[in-house]
Amino acid sequence: MFDKPLRGRVFLFGKNIDTDQIYPGRFVELTDVPDVAKHAMEGADPTFASSCKPGDFIVADSNFGCGSSREHAAITLKAVAVGAVVAPSFGRIFYRNGINLGLPLLVCPDLHTKVQTGDTIAIDVKSGEITDAAGKVIARAEVVTEYMMHILENGGIKPLLQKQLQ
């Protein structure tokens, strides 16, 4: 699934982007994916949901997704087809939720200092290599552990559990 690098535009965010900013609490009662998609990143950037195109990346400073356990935060990013999120660290429940849904979350100490919103970059999810539009390597993310990669390559944990439960 991740044999080729993913290409997309960068949306840059700061530190400690919490789940209330990714998906405000008052919309948690919504359960249908098209409704959930409308509020992606609304608390941090109300224009994000309409300007993000499938495959675009979120690049942020540390502790992205801190805060609540709401899976909506990962569902909404998946629903607007974010290609990957890259940050120096992630809130731990958001991390589990993202991987469970098949959303690549890459730990990289410094990508947020090297790109701007609107830049086009390519991310090799397997090797962690991140290149700019000219193909120059600008950062390296930590290699995703084998267990997490297995979940990502299967499109999330649900297909794996389906097999296990059959």
Partner: protein, 416 residues
């Protein structure tokens, strides 16, 4: 091994585990909150037919208690139907209160348990010497279907707290101080143990507030070694079936931190990050529109007692709404019994039914643009309690009550 590792090892059916390893553990208590109908959807999507251990699954109608929109009511209705279909009886309906307090009240929280809830503040149960951790809906669906969940064995940070806190300084003040020093991402993926004479001198209620707030430095779980205070609490509740483990002398902590709190003054977290800690004296006189005592952090009986002591015989400022939200039905009953509710309502407080209420900005006391709230809850993120243009200060219930009296951020010490 650390006590937390011993709990995971036992639940994984292993003799030992080591840091960084991924282990598949049998969960003792699995809690679902009414916010996450996705749990049922994910259960169906993975092909779940029967819940593996319905006697271990607890449903909490706490975040929308009672429902304030048709969608919320319909989500709760679907949950009730799911529990009926699965012959699962443990529904804590809209009359019971916030999940973590309900688990403590109803004897689910005890040493040695693996408690997993779809709520980030499940770290609270470390106060009982349990391994408590929050997960999302699909992880919970996995537990429903299999009874188990994979967990990474975390590094543990030991935080020793010493010194007798001054009058007007509570576990919440200490937690805000520590979070301000360590910052919001200090303990991501890690466990946080608390030790020291300050902690041993605290009640279970104060310990729950402290452990609850570890979520705000990213912790996966927390831990306080059960002691005479824990055992007295369990004995009073008639709980005898628990398993206390302890940490081996040669266990190597990832970090060993020390805080002396004997000179600490009442603290707050300024908008809009929990690690934006400061002594309240830096903000005295800051106008407020709403004061809020409640939640799994600051809505226990001792919290309501502190607020009642501050406002007794006085009236809140006319410019302020003072919301009081007991954490659970038992808390409300006890607070009524002791006259605290009478005192608070007489002073001008608005009583809200036991629930998460406005803590997470879903209902019952939201903030308008430009408004300022001081709150005994756990988060002050932008938009957390309503408008992203509103501002939230976090503080202890006593500081919140004193601020309600003055209509501005105030030092509770003068009122205690």
């Amino acid at each position: 091994m650390h006590a937390l590792e011993k709990i995971l090892a036992k639940k994984a059916g292993r003799d030992s585990v080591h840091v960084g390893e991924i282990v598949n553990c049998t969960v003792d208590v699995a809690g679902i909150n009414d916010l996450y109908l996705q749990t049922v959807r994910s259960f169906r999507e993975i092909g779940g037919k029967r819940v593996a251990s319905p006697e271990k699954v607890v449903m909490f109608m706490d975040h929308y208690a009672p429902a304030s929109t048709i969608t919320q009511a319909d989500n709760q209705k679907q949950f009730r139907a799911f529990f009926r279909e699965q012959n699962a009886d443990l529904i804590m309906d809209v009359n019971e209160g916030v999940c973590h307090q309900v688990l403590a009240d109803k004897c689910f929280s005890k040493p040695g348990q693996l408690i997993v809830i779809t709520d980030s503040h499940t770290t609270t149960h470390g106060a009982f010497g349990a391994f408590g951790t929050g997960v999302g809906a699909t992880d919970m669906a996995t537990i429903l279907a299999t009874g188990k969940l994979w967990l990474r064995v975390p590094e543990i940070i030991r935080t020793t707290i010493t010194g007798k806190p001054a009058r007007g300084v509570y576990a919440k003040d200490v937690a805000l101080h520590i979070i301000g020093k360590l910052r919001a991402d200090h303990a991501v993926y890690k466990g946080v143990e608390f030790a020291g004479d300050t902690v041993s001198g605290w009640s279970v209620s104060e310990r729950m507030a402290l452990c609850n707030m570890t979520t705000e430095i990213g912790a996966k779980c927390s831990y306080i070694q059960p002691d005479a205070v824990t055992e007295a609490f369990l004995r009073e509740k008639g709980i005898t079936d628990y398993d206390i483990v302890s940490t081996d002398a040669d266990y190597r902590y990832a970090e060993d931190l020390h805080f002396d709190v004997s000179a600490l003054t009442p603290q707050l977290a300024a908008p809009s990050s929990v690690d934006n800690g400061a002594p309240i004296k830096e903000y005295l006189g800051q106008r407020i529109d709403q004061a809020y005592v409640g939640s799994c952090t600051g809505g226990r009986l001792e919290d309501i007692a502190a607020a009642a002591a501050v406002v007794k015989g006085r009236s809140i400022a006319k410019t302020v709404r003072f919301l009081v939200v007991p954490a659970s039905r038992q808390t409300l009953l006890d607070a009524m019994d002791r006259g605290y509710i009478q005192t608070l309502v007489t002073a001008g407080a608005t009583l809200v039914s036991p629930s998460c209420a406005a803590c997470l900005g879903t209902h019952q006391g939201l903030l308008a643009p430009g408004e300022v709230c001081i709150s005994a809850t756990n988060r002050n993120f932008p938009g957390r309690m309503g408008s992203t243009e509103a501002k939230i200060f976090l503080a202890s219930p006593a500081t919140v009550a004193a601020s309600a009296l003055e209509g501005a951020i105030a030092d509770p010490t003068a009122y205690l």
